[in-house]
Amino acid sequence: MNRETHNGPTDQTQARGTPYSGDPQGGAGTEPQPLDKLPLDSWHRSRGGRMVPFAGYEMPVQYEGIIAEHLWTRENAGLFDVSHMGQLLVHGRAADIALESLMPGDFQAAKDMKPKYSLLLDDDGGIVDDLMATRRGDDFYVVVNGATKYGDIAVMEARLPEDVVIDHMREQALLALQGPRAAEVLETIIPGVSELSFMQGGPFHWRGQNLWISRSGYTGEDGFEISVPAIAAAGLADAITAHELARPIGLGARDSLRLEAGLPLYGHDLDLKTTPVMADLTFAINKRRRAEGGFPGALRILAELENGAPQKRVGFEVEGRQPVREGALILDAEGNEVGKITSGGFSPSLQRPIAMGYVASHLAEPGTALKLEQRGKLFEARVAAMPFVPHKYHRKGAA
């Protein structure tokens, strides 16, 4: 047996050369990279986590199994270790105005303790990274992707004025508790968290430690992201998973959950060749920034907002049972290549293959029938509205 292609939770460093030796080219073409350990490394191993290389770290891809962990998160509460992500504090004079020179978000109007999704852009409007930025007084707490964090810091430091400084909060771990029972579980450990509404954060305390918690996540479910000093992370993870409704969840289910939620993954669905308009992330550019511009790539992005982009990120429902994964070609009825799949897999909640990809904009309407080609085989697919599984965020005023 030969493990032919990998997908989702694995990254390029894992695509070949895993310890699993069924791959006859195992290790070929990849230089061994020294991997860092997460603060919770031994915690994951003691819980049966299967560790794989991801974003330069050894990370748990699964514990009991991806499908069981996925469904557990959709029904109860799943604890994710996302400490590989970069936690940055941007501070200094007029940090909000400075950040607007890098990103299309309205940081001047950003309300205190309200995380905003934004995009770090290059001068062509390509996406350098996607991130969450939260105003805390005059400072901004920014969470960026793990695989891109050092590059992001370099880009930001090169472009920010000298009196705006970035602290990389290396001493902080980051946990996410996600699922419909997450609030109930976390409230027993950290009273008051359930009063946060979706996309609201705040400072909390636990056993003498300062925490920063926001009601946000990457699964489409209600849930929280918890920044905790690394030395206290294992204790907090123990306290959370001591609750019968909370279990540790690996990267595998994180990937299948976010795909069902229609959320893009940087390095797969977003990269330097995609713009916010192509990626269907125009909600991250508000009216003032559209009117004023002043962010990298504004000329191109504002033109795309006006006239549309040549390609658009869409979802696909794939016929049959076989997953169609990243790299598969998208073909029109005449067999012309009209795009590429950027994420794909089997949806545990829907029990069918789903995918995400970029297609020529005139074919982006939900319901459009297209073909996908993977390893010489054709699959029938239809453009589908995303999310594939409805979001269940906890919004104020909702039950």
Binding site: M1, N2, R3, E4, T5, H6, N7, G8, P9, T10, P19, Y20, S21, G22, P24, V61, Q62, G65, I66, I67, A68, G252, D255, S256, R321, Q322, P323, R325, G345, F346, P348
Partner: protein, 123 residues
């Protein structure tokens, strides 16, 4: 019935000149939750090393190669219908295909079960 194992984590159970082929428990553990399996059609001729079946988990797609040459006499429809059978009983009901051996000599030198389990421990 003698059972042989390959370094590609396939097992071959031999009864006369009929070989039943599947993937090992170690292989299914490494793959994780299996969501798709495609088995070869009856009558297909396979030479040793040729792609014979497909198995896909949530996170990986793999080919199952023919560990020996022969003519397929049956693909296991049960695993095509319920791929999770490969997780629950990889070395039993989760077999992939049976073939009529062209050359039983191809089995010479393959690992027996004990040698395979010992080798897997070293991975």
């Amino acid at each position: 019935m003698p059972v042989y194992f390959t370094r590609e984590h396939e097992w071959i159970s031999v009864d006369g000149d009929i070989a039943t082929v599947g993937i090992s428990n170690h292989a299914q553990e490494q793959l994780g939750d299996i969501v798709f399996a495609e088995v070869p059609e009856t009558g297909r001729r396979l030479s040793k090393g040729q792609e014979a079946a497909v198995v896909e988990s949530v996170k990986a797609a793999s080919d199952v190669y023919a560990p020996v040459s022969g003519e397929v006499i049956e693909g296991n429809q049960a695993v095509a219908d319920d791929p999770a059978l490969v997780n629950s009983d990889p070395e039993g009901d989760g077999w992939f295909f049976k073939l009529k051996l062209d050359n039983p000599g191809e089995l010479d030198g393959m690992m027996d079960e004990g040698a395979y389990r010992d080798w897997v421990q070293t991975l």
